[in-house]
Amino acid sequence: MLKFDRVFKRYPEGGDALIDISFQLQKAEMVFLTGHSGAGKSTLLKLIAMMERCTRGQLVFEGQNLNHLKEKQIPFVRRQLGLIFQDYKLLYNRTVFDNIALPLVVSGFGYQEIVRRVRAVLEQVGLSGKEKKYPLALSGGEQQRVGIARAVINKPKLILADEPTGNLDPELSDEIMSLFGRFQQVGVTILIASHDYALVEKFHTRVLHLDHGRLVEDWHETERS
Protein backbone atom coordinates (compact mmCIF):
# COMPACT_ATOMS: atom_id res chain seq x y z
CA MET A 1 0.00 0.00 0.00
CA LEU A 2 3.03 2.23 0.36
CA LYS A 3 6.10 1.95 -1.77
CA PHE A 4 9.38 3.87 -1.74
CA ASP A 5 11.43 3.30 -4.85
CA ARG A 6 14.93 4.77 -4.82
CA VAL A 7 13.82 7.92 -3.09
CA PHE A 8 16.26 10.78 -2.49
CA LYS A 9 15.66 13.96 -0.57
CA ARG A 10 18.14 16.77 -0.69
CA TYR A 11 17.63 20.09 1.06
CA PRO A 12 19.16 23.04 -0.75
CA GLU A 13 20.86 24.20 2.43
CA GLY A 14 21.18 21.01 4.48
CA GLY A 15 22.56 18.43 2.10
CA ASP A 16 21.19 14.90 1.69
CA ALA A 17 18.47 13.94 4.15
CA LEU A 18 17.48 10.66 2.50
CA ILE A 19 19.60 8.63 0.14
CA ASP A 20 18.30 5.87 -2.11
CA ILE A 21 15.46 4.64 0.08
CA SER A 22 13.46 1.64 -1.14
CA PHE A 23 10.91 -0.37 0.83
CA GLN A 24 7.27 -1.38 0.82
CA LEU A 25 4.58 -1.51 3.47
CA GLN A 26 1.72 -4.00 3.32
CA LYS A 27 -1.79 -3.48 4.57
CA ALA A 28 -2.18 -3.95 8.34
CA GLU A 29 1.54 -3.92 8.95
CA MET A 30 3.04 -2.27 12.01
CA VAL A 31 6.54 -1.05 11.33
CA PHE A 32 9.06 0.84 13.42
CA LEU A 33 11.29 3.39 11.83
CA THR A 34 14.43 3.80 13.94
CA GLY A 35 17.66 5.74 13.76
CA HIS A 36 19.60 8.42 15.57
CA SER A 37 18.20 11.90 15.57
CA GLY A 38 18.89 13.52 12.23
CA ALA A 39 18.96 10.16 10.47
CA GLY A 40 16.01 11.21 8.34
CA LYS A 41 13.06 9.61 10.14
CA SER A 42 10.99 12.79 10.23
CA THR A 43 11.92 13.64 6.66
CA LEU A 44 10.70 10.23 5.53
CA LEU A 45 7.35 10.75 7.28
CA LYS A 46 7.07 14.25 5.85
CA LEU A 47 7.47 12.88 2.35
CA ILE A 48 4.54 10.52 2.87
CA ALA A 49 2.41 13.27 4.39
CA MET A 50 3.30 15.52 1.44
CA MET A 51 4.79 18.13 3.74
CA GLU A 52 7.88 17.77 1.57
CA ARG A 53 8.45 16.43 -1.91
CA CYS A 54 11.25 14.04 -2.74
CA THR A 55 14.08 15.15 -4.99
CA ARG A 56 14.30 11.88 -6.93
CA GLY A 57 12.63 8.49 -7.00
CA GLN A 58 9.08 7.23 -6.84
CA LEU A 59 6.72 7.33 -3.90
CA VAL A 60 3.48 5.41 -4.37
CA PHE A 61 0.66 5.39 -1.82
CA GLU A 62 -2.46 3.32 -2.53
CA GLY A 63 -1.70 3.29 -6.21
CA GLN A 64 -1.18 7.06 -6.46
CA ASN A 65 2.22 8.35 -7.38
CA LEU A 66 2.71 11.14 -4.88
CA ASN A 67 5.31 12.84 -7.07
CA HIS A 68 2.70 13.51 -9.71
CA LEU A 69 0.20 14.90 -7.29
CA LYS A 70 -0.99 18.44 -7.86
CA GLU A 71 -0.90 20.89 -5.01
CA LYS A 72 -4.67 20.94 -4.67
CA GLN A 73 -4.89 17.16 -4.42
CA ILE A 74 -2.67 17.06 -1.34
CA PRO A 75 -5.49 17.61 1.18
CA PHE A 76 -7.30 14.57 -0.16
CA VAL A 77 -4.26 12.35 0.28
CA ARG A 78 -3.84 13.62 3.82
CA ARG A 79 -7.41 12.61 4.61
CA GLN A 80 -6.34 9.00 4.08
CA LEU A 81 -3.54 9.41 6.59
CA GLY A 82 -3.52 9.73 10.36
CA LEU A 83 -0.70 11.86 11.70
CA ILE A 84 0.54 11.61 15.27
CA PHE A 85 3.22 13.89 16.70
CA GLN A 86 5.59 13.82 19.64
CA ASP A 87 4.25 17.17 20.85
CA TYR A 88 0.65 16.08 20.12
CA LYS A 89 -0.04 19.29 18.14
CA LEU A 90 -3.40 19.86 19.78
CA LEU A 91 -5.31 23.13 19.75
CA TYR A 92 -5.20 24.24 23.35
CA ASN A 93 -8.01 26.76 23.07
CA ARG A 94 -10.41 24.08 21.82
CA THR A 95 -12.11 21.27 23.67
CA VAL A 96 -11.15 17.65 23.27
CA PHE A 97 -14.26 17.20 21.17
CA ASP A 98 -13.33 20.01 18.78
CA ASN A 99 -9.78 18.74 18.50
CA ILE A 100 -10.84 15.25 17.59
CA ALA A 101 -13.60 16.43 15.26
CA LEU A 102 -11.26 18.66 13.24
CA PRO A 103 -10.49 16.16 10.44
CA LEU A 104 -14.21 15.51 10.00
CA VAL A 105 -15.09 19.20 10.04
CA VAL A 106 -12.41 19.80 7.44
CA SER A 107 -13.87 17.05 5.25
CA GLY A 108 -17.35 18.53 5.51
CA PHE A 109 -19.13 15.90 7.62
CA GLY A 110 -22.50 16.73 9.12
CA TYR A 111 -22.76 17.49 12.79
CA GLN A 112 -24.64 14.31 13.72
CA GLU A 113 -22.13 12.07 12.04
CA ILE A 114 -19.32 13.96 13.75
CA VAL A 115 -20.86 13.51 17.19
CA ARG A 116 -21.42 9.82 16.57
CA ARG A 117 -17.88 9.19 15.39
CA VAL A 118 -16.21 11.29 18.08
CA ARG A 119 -18.11 9.37 20.78
CA ALA A 120 -17.04 6.08 19.27
CA VAL A 121 -13.40 7.01 18.97
CA LEU A 122 -13.28 8.50 22.46
CA GLU A 123 -14.41 5.16 23.77
CA GLN A 124 -11.77 3.39 21.71
CA VAL A 125 -8.95 5.44 23.19
CA GLY A 126 -10.45 5.37 26.67
CA LEU A 127 -11.35 9.03 27.03
CA SER A 128 -15.13 8.74 27.29
CA GLY A 129 -16.68 11.64 29.14
CA LYS A 130 -13.73 13.97 28.61
CA GLU A 131 -14.90 15.57 25.38
CA LYS A 132 -15.76 18.89 27.02
CA LYS A 133 -12.37 19.26 28.71
CA TYR A 134 -9.53 21.33 27.36
CA PRO A 135 -6.27 19.55 26.48
CA LEU A 136 -4.28 21.26 29.24
CA ALA A 137 -6.59 19.72 31.83
CA LEU A 138 -5.43 16.29 30.69
CA SER A 139 -2.28 14.32 31.47
CA GLY A 140 0.41 13.81 28.83
CA GLY A 141 -0.77 10.29 28.11
CA GLU A 142 -4.34 11.48 27.74
CA GLN A 143 -3.28 14.32 25.46
CA GLN A 144 -1.49 11.87 23.21
CA ARG A 145 -4.61 9.72 23.15
CA VAL A 146 -6.54 12.78 21.98
CA GLY A 147 -3.92 13.12 19.25
CA ILE A 148 -4.42 9.47 18.32
CA ALA A 149 -8.19 9.82 18.35
CA ARG A 150 -7.87 12.75 15.95
CA ALA A 151 -5.57 10.68 13.73
CA VAL A 152 -7.92 7.71 13.47
CA ILE A 153 -11.31 9.41 13.30
CA ASN A 154 -11.10 9.73 9.53
CA LYS A 155 -10.58 5.93 9.32
CA PRO A 156 -7.16 6.34 7.71
CA LYS A 157 -5.43 3.58 5.83
CA LEU A 158 -2.03 4.55 7.14
CA ILE A 159 -1.04 6.05 10.47
CA LEU A 160 2.24 7.95 10.65
CA ALA A 161 3.49 8.46 14.19
CA ASP A 162 6.54 10.62 14.81
CA GLU A 163 8.00 9.72 18.22
CA PRO A 164 4.52 9.22 19.66
CA THR A 165 5.85 8.11 23.03
CA GLY A 166 8.78 10.50 23.14
CA ASN A 167 7.32 12.56 25.96
CA LEU A 168 5.72 9.69 27.88
CA ASP A 169 7.00 7.33 30.59
CA PRO A 170 7.29 3.61 29.75
CA GLU A 171 3.96 2.66 31.27
CA LEU A 172 2.06 5.21 29.22
CA SER A 173 4.09 4.26 26.18
CA ASP A 174 2.89 0.68 26.51
CA GLU A 175 -0.69 1.89 26.66
CA ILE A 176 -0.24 3.91 23.51
CA MET A 177 1.45 1.01 21.76
CA SER A 178 -1.31 -1.41 22.64
CA LEU A 179 -3.74 1.11 21.20
CA PHE A 180 -1.77 1.00 17.95
CA GLY A 181 -1.91 -2.80 18.11
CA ARG A 182 -5.68 -2.66 18.13
CA PHE A 183 -5.81 -0.42 15.09
CA GLN A 184 -3.44 -2.74 13.30
CA GLN A 185 -5.82 -5.60 13.96
CA VAL A 186 -8.62 -3.80 12.11
CA GLY A 187 -6.43 -3.41 9.05
CA VAL A 188 -4.66 -0.09 9.51
CA THR A 189 -1.03 0.18 8.51
CA ILE A 190 1.11 1.92 11.11
CA LEU A 191 4.53 3.45 10.66
CA ILE A 192 6.12 4.58 13.92
CA ALA A 193 9.29 6.64 14.01
CA SER A 194 11.09 6.13 17.29
CA HIS A 195 14.56 6.13 18.77
CA ASP A 196 13.30 4.34 21.89
CA TYR A 197 15.04 0.99 21.27
CA ALA A 198 13.73 -0.53 24.48
CA LEU A 199 10.20 0.01 23.22
CA VAL A 200 11.02 -1.33 19.78
CA GLU A 201 12.56 -4.43 21.29
CA LYS A 202 9.35 -5.25 23.11
CA PHE A 203 7.38 -5.64 19.93
CA HIS A 204 8.25 -8.30 17.50
CA THR A 205 7.48 -6.32 14.44
CA ARG A 206 9.33 -5.15 11.39
CA VAL A 207 11.96 -2.45 11.88
CA LEU A 208 13.39 -0.07 9.32
CA HIS A 209 16.66 1.41 10.49
CA LEU A 210 18.00 4.65 9.06
CA ASP A 211 21.56 5.84 9.37
CA HIS A 212 22.60 9.20 7.95
CA GLY A 213 19.78 9.13 5.47
CA ARG A 214 20.37 5.57 4.27
CA LEU A 215 18.12 2.62 4.96
CA VAL A 216 20.72 0.28 6.42
CA GLU A 217 18.53 -2.45 7.90
CA ASP A 218 15.09 -3.85 7.21
CA TRP A 219 14.32 -6.63 9.75
CA HIS A 220 11.12 -8.54 9.40
CA GLU A 221 9.65 -9.98 12.54
CA THR A 222 10.65 -13.50 11.58
CA GLU A 223 14.27 -12.49 11.23
CA ARG A 224 14.37 -10.88 14.61
CA SER A 225 14.14 -13.62 17.23
Binding site: P75, R79, L83, P103, V106
Partner: protein, 324 residues
Protein backbone atom coordinates in the same frame (compact mmCIF):
# COMPACT_ATOMS: atom_id res chain seq x y z
CA UNK B 1 -29.86 -3.85 -18.79
CA UNK B 2 -27.24 -1.43 -19.85
CA UNK B 3 -29.69 1.43 -19.73
CA UNK B 4 -30.75 0.77 -16.16
CA UNK B 5 -27.10 0.73 -15.25
CA UNK B 6 -26.71 4.19 -16.68
CA UNK B 7 -29.82 5.29 -14.84
CA UNK B 8 -28.65 4.18 -11.42
CA UNK B 9 -25.31 5.71 -12.16
CA UNK B 10 -27.05 8.97 -12.93
CA UNK B 11 -29.06 8.67 -9.79
CA UNK B 12 -25.97 8.10 -7.70
CA UNK B 13 -24.31 11.04 -9.33
CA UNK B 14 -27.27 13.24 -8.51
CA UNK B 15 -27.35 12.02 -4.95
CA UNK B 16 -23.62 12.56 -4.67
CA UNK B 17 -23.94 16.07 -6.06
CA UNK B 18 -26.81 16.82 -3.68
CA UNK B 19 -24.75 15.63 -0.75
CA UNK B 20 -21.83 17.67 -1.91
CA UNK B 21 -23.89 20.84 -2.23
CA UNK B 22 -25.35 20.24 1.21
CA UNK B 23 -21.91 19.66 2.70
CA UNK B 24 -20.72 22.83 1.00
CA UNK B 25 -23.61 24.78 2.51
CA UNK B 26 -22.80 23.34 5.93
CA UNK B 27 -19.17 24.39 5.53
CA UNK B 28 -20.17 27.93 4.65
CA UNK B 29 -22.65 28.21 7.49
CA UNK B 30 -19.98 26.93 9.86
CA UNK B 31 -17.47 29.45 8.57
CA UNK B 32 -19.99 32.27 8.80
CA UNK B 33 -20.81 31.53 12.44
CA UNK B 34 -17.34 30.51 13.54
CA UNK B 35 -15.79 33.64 12.06
CA UNK B 36 -18.24 35.79 13.98
CA UNK B 37 -17.37 33.80 17.10
CA UNK B 38 -13.69 34.37 16.40
CA UNK B 39 -14.26 38.12 16.18
CA UNK B 40 -16.39 38.30 19.30
CA UNK B 41 -13.80 36.37 21.27
CA UNK B 42 -11.64 39.48 20.97
CA UNK B 43 -14.27 42.19 21.40
CA UNK B 44 -11.98 45.18 21.99
CA UNK B 45 -9.96 44.65 18.83
CA UNK B 46 -13.08 43.93 16.87
CA UNK B 47 -14.89 47.03 18.12
CA UNK B 48 -11.89 49.28 17.45
CA UNK B 49 -11.31 48.06 13.93
CA UNK B 50 -15.01 48.10 13.10
CA UNK B 51 -15.25 51.67 14.38
CA UNK B 52 -12.32 52.87 12.30
CA UNK B 53 -13.86 51.27 9.24
CA UNK B 54 -17.27 52.71 10.06
CA UNK B 55 -15.92 56.24 10.46
CA UNK B 56 -14.15 56.04 7.12
CA UNK B 57 -17.32 54.78 5.50
CA UNK B 58 -19.46 57.36 7.26
CA UNK B 59 -17.19 60.12 6.00
CA UNK B 60 -17.62 59.09 2.39
CA UNK B 61 -21.31 58.25 2.70
CA UNK B 62 -22.01 61.41 4.68
CA UNK B 63 -20.43 63.66 2.07
CA UNK B 64 -22.30 61.81 -0.60
CA UNK B 65 -25.63 62.42 1.11
CA UNK B 66 -24.79 66.03 1.83
CA UNK B 67 -24.14 66.70 -1.82
CA UNK B 68 -27.21 64.68 -2.77
CA UNK B 69 -29.26 66.88 -0.46
CA UNK B 70 -27.97 70.12 -1.94
CA UNK B 71 -28.56 68.66 -5.36
CA UNK B 72 -32.11 67.80 -4.45
CA UNK B 73 -32.63 71.35 -3.26
CA UNK B 74 -31.36 72.95 -6.44
CA UNK B 75 -33.02 70.30 -8.56
CA UNK B 76 -36.36 71.47 -7.24
CA UNK B 77 -35.65 74.90 -8.72
CA UNK B 78 -36.48 75.59 -12.33
CA UNK B 79 -33.23 75.17 -14.13
CA UNK B 80 -34.38 76.49 -17.50
CA UNK B 81 -32.30 78.93 -19.49
CA UNK B 82 -35.06 81.49 -19.38
CA UNK B 83 -34.02 84.92 -20.62
CA UNK B 84 -35.82 88.15 -19.73
CA UNK B 85 -35.72 90.98 -22.23
CA UNK B 86 -36.50 94.37 -20.70
CA UNK B 87 -37.76 96.80 -23.32
CA UNK B 88 -37.09 100.55 -23.47
CA UNK B 89 -39.60 102.69 -21.58
CA UNK B 90 -40.85 104.36 -24.79
CA UNK B 91 -41.74 101.08 -26.50
CA UNK B 92 -45.50 100.65 -26.68
CA UNK B 93 -47.43 97.51 -25.93
CA UNK B 94 -48.20 97.14 -29.65
CA UNK B 95 -44.53 97.24 -30.60
CA UNK B 96 -43.74 94.82 -27.81
CA UNK B 97 -46.28 92.27 -29.00
CA UNK B 98 -44.94 92.58 -32.53
CA UNK B 99 -41.43 91.93 -31.38
CA UNK B 100 -42.63 88.94 -29.37
CA UNK B 101 -44.19 87.41 -32.46
CA UNK B 102 -41.02 88.04 -34.42
CA UNK B 103 -38.93 86.38 -31.74
CA UNK B 104 -41.15 83.28 -31.61
CA UNK B 105 -40.32 82.70 -35.25
CA UNK B 106 -36.61 82.60 -34.49
CA UNK B 107 -35.34 79.00 -34.79
CA UNK B 108 -33.22 79.31 -31.68
CA UNK B 109 -36.17 80.25 -29.53
CA UNK B 110 -38.74 77.75 -28.48
CA UNK B 111 -41.10 80.13 -26.75
CA UNK B 112 -41.52 83.86 -26.28
CA UNK B 113 -44.17 85.47 -24.08
CA UNK B 114 -44.98 89.10 -23.57
CA UNK B 115 -45.55 90.58 -20.13
CA UNK B 116 -46.94 94.06 -20.29
CA UNK B 117 -45.94 96.66 -17.72
CA UNK B 118 -49.45 96.53 -16.23
CA UNK B 119 -49.30 92.81 -15.75
CA UNK B 120 -45.87 93.15 -14.23
CA UNK B 121 -47.07 95.79 -11.84
CA UNK B 122 -50.00 93.68 -10.71
CA UNK B 123 -47.71 90.73 -10.08
CA UNK B 124 -45.25 92.90 -8.25
CA UNK B 125 -47.97 94.31 -6.02
CA UNK B 126 -49.19 90.88 -5.24
CA UNK B 127 -45.88 89.29 -4.32
CA UNK B 128 -43.65 92.03 -3.03
CA UNK B 129 -45.78 93.47 -0.26
CA UNK B 130 -45.04 96.97 -1.55
CA UNK B 131 -48.56 97.29 -2.95
CA UNK B 132 -49.50 100.37 -0.99
CA UNK B 133 -46.31 102.19 -1.78
CA UNK B 134 -46.90 101.61 -5.47
CA UNK B 135 -50.43 103.00 -5.20
CA UNK B 136 -48.87 106.32 -4.34
CA UNK B 137 -46.85 106.47 -7.54
CA UNK B 138 -48.46 108.07 -10.58
CA UNK B 139 -46.38 106.36 -13.21
CA UNK B 140 -45.76 102.71 -13.70
CA UNK B 141 -41.98 102.50 -13.45
CA UNK B 142 -41.84 99.02 -14.89
CA UNK B 143 -40.95 98.30 -18.52
CA UNK B 144 -42.58 95.76 -20.80
CA UNK B 145 -40.81 92.45 -20.64
CA UNK B 146 -40.49 89.56 -23.09
CA UNK B 147 -39.62 86.21 -21.59
CA UNK B 148 -37.77 83.96 -23.98
CA UNK B 149 -37.05 80.28 -23.63
CA UNK B 150 -34.19 79.22 -25.89
CA UNK B 151 -34.33 75.92 -27.77
CA UNK B 152 -32.54 74.14 -24.94
CA UNK B 153 -31.71 70.91 -26.73
CA UNK B 154 -29.91 72.43 -29.64
CA UNK B 155 -28.17 75.20 -27.75
CA UNK B 156 -25.08 75.00 -25.61
CA UNK B 157 -23.93 77.78 -23.32
CA UNK B 158 -21.91 79.49 -26.06
CA UNK B 159 -24.77 79.80 -28.49
CA UNK B 160 -27.03 81.03 -25.71
CA UNK B 161 -24.54 83.79 -25.05
CA UNK B 162 -24.55 84.59 -28.73
CA UNK B 163 -28.32 84.74 -28.70
CA UNK B 164 -28.21 87.16 -25.78
CA UNK B 165 -25.74 89.40 -27.60
CA UNK B 166 -27.98 89.47 -30.67
CA UNK B 167 -31.04 90.25 -28.56
CA UNK B 168 -29.19 93.16 -26.96
CA UNK B 169 -28.61 94.68 -30.39
CA UNK B 170 -32.36 95.06 -31.06
CA UNK B 171 -33.36 98.76 -30.93
CA UNK B 172 -36.39 98.17 -28.67
CA UNK B 173 -34.32 96.40 -26.05
CA UNK B 174 -33.05 98.09 -22.91
CA UNK B 175 -31.22 95.15 -21.40
CA UNK B 176 -31.21 91.36 -21.40
CA UNK B 177 -30.79 89.11 -18.42
CA UNK B 178 -30.38 85.42 -18.02
CA UNK B 179 -32.48 84.63 -15.00
CA UNK B 180 -30.72 81.61 -13.61
CA UNK B 181 -27.04 82.35 -13.98
CA UNK B 182 -26.49 81.87 -10.28
CA UNK B 183 -28.17 78.49 -10.45
CA UNK B 184 -25.86 77.42 -13.25
CA UNK B 185 -22.91 78.40 -11.15
CA UNK B 186 -24.27 76.50 -8.17
CA UNK B 187 -24.80 73.43 -10.30
CA UNK B 188 -21.24 73.63 -11.53
CA UNK B 189 -20.10 73.78 -7.93
CA UNK B 190 -22.19 70.76 -7.06
CA UNK B 191 -20.61 68.90 -9.90
CA UNK B 192 -17.24 69.79 -8.46
CA UNK B 193 -18.37 68.59 -5.05
CA UNK B 194 -19.60 65.36 -6.60
CA UNK B 195 -16.20 64.80 -8.10
CA UNK B 196 -14.69 65.53 -4.73
CA UNK B 197 -16.91 62.94 -3.09
CA UNK B 198 -15.84 60.40 -5.67
CA UNK B 199 -12.14 61.04 -5.07
CA UNK B 200 -12.59 60.99 -1.33
CA UNK B 201 -14.51 57.74 -1.59
CA UNK B 202 -11.79 56.07 -3.60
CA UNK B 203 -9.12 57.13 -1.13
CA UNK B 204 -11.18 56.00 1.84
CA UNK B 205 -12.00 52.73 0.10
CA UNK B 206 -8.28 52.09 -0.29
CA UNK B 207 -7.87 52.84 3.40
CA UNK B 208 -10.62 50.38 4.30
CA UNK B 209 -9.04 47.76 2.07
CA UNK B 210 -5.72 48.08 3.86
CA UNK B 211 -7.22 48.23 7.34
CA UNK B 212 -9.21 45.02 6.83
CA UNK B 213 -6.25 43.42 5.13
CA UNK B 214 -3.98 44.21 8.02
CA UNK B 215 -6.52 43.09 10.60
CA UNK B 216 -6.98 39.78 8.83
CA UNK B 217 -3.21 39.40 8.62
CA UNK B 218 -2.94 39.71 12.40
CA UNK B 219 -5.84 37.30 12.80
CA UNK B 220 -4.02 34.84 10.55
CA UNK B 221 -0.87 35.11 12.57
CA UNK B 222 -2.80 34.45 15.76
CA UNK B 223 -4.25 31.30 14.28
CA UNK B 224 -1.04 30.03 12.75
CA UNK B 225 -1.10 26.76 14.76
CA UNK B 226 -4.70 26.16 13.91
CA UNK B 227 -4.05 26.66 10.22
CA UNK B 228 -1.06 24.36 10.20
CA UNK B 229 -2.88 21.60 12.02
CA UNK B 230 -5.92 21.96 9.81
CA UNK B 231 -3.66 21.66 6.77
CA UNK B 232 -2.12 18.49 8.20
CA UNK B 233 -5.48 16.81 8.67
CA UNK B 234 -6.47 17.54 5.09
CA UNK B 235 -8.03 20.97 5.02
CA UNK B 236 -8.15 22.47 1.54
CA UNK B 237 -6.86 26.02 1.05
CA UNK B 238 -10.49 27.00 0.50
CA UNK B 239 -11.48 25.63 3.89
CA UNK B 240 -8.69 27.57 5.55
CA UNK B 241 -9.47 30.78 3.72
CA UNK B 242 -13.21 30.65 4.30
CA UNK B 243 -13.45 31.76 7.95
CA UNK B 244 -11.08 34.65 7.26
CA UNK B 245 -13.02 35.74 4.23
CA UNK B 246 -16.10 35.70 6.41
CA UNK B 247 -14.20 37.80 8.95
CA UNK B 248 -13.78 40.32 6.14
CA UNK B 249 -17.47 39.96 5.41
CA UNK B 250 -18.42 40.69 9.02
CA UNK B 251 -16.11 43.66 9.24
CA UNK B 252 -17.67 45.07 6.08
CA UNK B 253 -21.21 44.34 7.21
CA UNK B 254 -20.85 45.80 10.67
CA UNK B 255 -18.87 48.82 9.49
CA UNK B 256 -21.62 49.58 6.96
CA UNK B 257 -24.33 49.20 9.59
CA UNK B 258 -22.53 51.49 12.04
CA UNK B 259 -21.76 54.02 9.30
CA UNK B 260 -25.41 54.03 8.29
CA UNK B 261 -26.48 54.79 11.85
CA UNK B 262 -23.79 57.46 12.24
CA UNK B 263 -24.75 59.33 9.07
CA UNK B 264 -28.47 59.06 9.81
CA UNK B 265 -27.86 60.48 13.28
CA UNK B 266 -25.89 63.39 11.81
CA UNK B 267 -28.69 64.15 9.37
CA UNK B 268 -31.24 63.99 12.17
CA UNK B 269 -29.18 66.57 14.03
CA UNK B 270 -29.19 68.79 10.96
CA UNK B 271 -32.89 68.40 10.29
CA UNK B 272 -34.14 70.55 13.13
CA UNK B 273 -32.06 73.71 12.58
CA UNK B 274 -32.64 73.30 8.87
CA UNK B 275 -36.39 73.30 9.44
CA UNK B 276 -36.01 76.56 11.33
CA UNK B 277 -33.94 78.07 8.55
CA UNK B 278 -36.26 77.07 5.74
CA UNK B 279 -39.20 78.17 7.88
CA UNK B 280 -37.76 81.70 7.85
CA UNK B 281 -37.73 81.61 4.06
CA UNK B 282 -41.28 80.28 3.99
CA UNK B 283 -40.00 77.21 2.25
CA UNK B 284 -39.91 73.64 3.28
CA UNK B 285 -37.04 71.30 2.79
CA UNK B 286 -36.91 67.76 4.08
CA UNK B 287 -33.46 66.27 4.61
CA UNK B 288 -32.99 63.23 2.46
CA UNK B 289 -31.78 60.10 4.28
CA UNK B 290 -30.39 56.92 2.73
CA UNK B 291 -32.75 55.32 0.26
CA UNK B 292 -33.15 51.55 0.29
CA UNK B 293 -31.03 51.34 -2.82
CA UNK B 294 -28.28 53.46 -1.29
CA UNK B 295 -28.38 51.38 1.88
CA UNK B 296 -27.88 48.26 -0.20
CA UNK B 297 -25.06 49.90 -2.11
CA UNK B 298 -23.35 50.94 1.11
CA UNK B 299 -23.61 47.40 2.45
CA UNK B 300 -22.38 45.83 -0.74
CA UNK B 301 -19.46 48.18 -1.21
CA UNK B 302 -18.42 47.80 2.40
CA UNK B 303 -18.71 44.00 2.38
CA UNK B 304 -16.97 43.90 -0.96
CA UNK B 305 -14.06 45.91 0.41
CA UNK B 306 -13.84 43.75 3.53
CA UNK B 307 -13.80 40.49 1.61
CA UNK B 308 -11.37 41.85 -1.00
CA UNK B 309 -9.00 43.12 1.69
CA UNK B 310 -9.09 39.70 3.36
CA UNK B 311 -8.60 37.93 0.06
CA UNK B 312 -5.50 39.89 -0.90
CA UNK B 313 -3.83 39.09 2.40
CA UNK B 314 -4.93 35.45 2.49
CA UNK B 315 -3.61 34.80 -0.93
CA UNK B 316 -0.13 35.84 0.12
CA UNK B 317 -0.03 34.66 3.72
CA UNK B 318 -1.30 31.12 3.22
CA UNK B 319 1.32 30.56 0.57
CA UNK B 320 3.86 31.73 3.11
CA UNK B 321 2.52 29.46 5.87
CA UNK B 322 2.73 26.49 3.57
CA UNK B 323 6.38 27.04 2.84
CA UNK B 324 7.28 26.99 6.53
Amino acid sequence: MKQSGVKTNNFHQKEYLGRKIKAYGVLHAQALISSLGRLIRNPVNFAMTATVLAVALALAAGFFLLVANVQQFTGALDDSNQISIFLQQHVTEQQGLKLTRKLSENTNISQASFISKHQALDEFKQYSGFGEVLEVMDDNPLPHVIQVLPESISLDDNSINELIINLKKLPEVDFVQMDMVWLKRLQAMIQLANRGVLILSVVLALGILFITGNTIRLELQNSRDEIQIAQLVGATPGFIRRPFLYCGFWYGFIAAAVAWVLVSLMLLLIQQPLDQLTGLYEGQFRVRFFSVKETMMLLMISIGLGVTGAWIVLHRQIQQLKSE
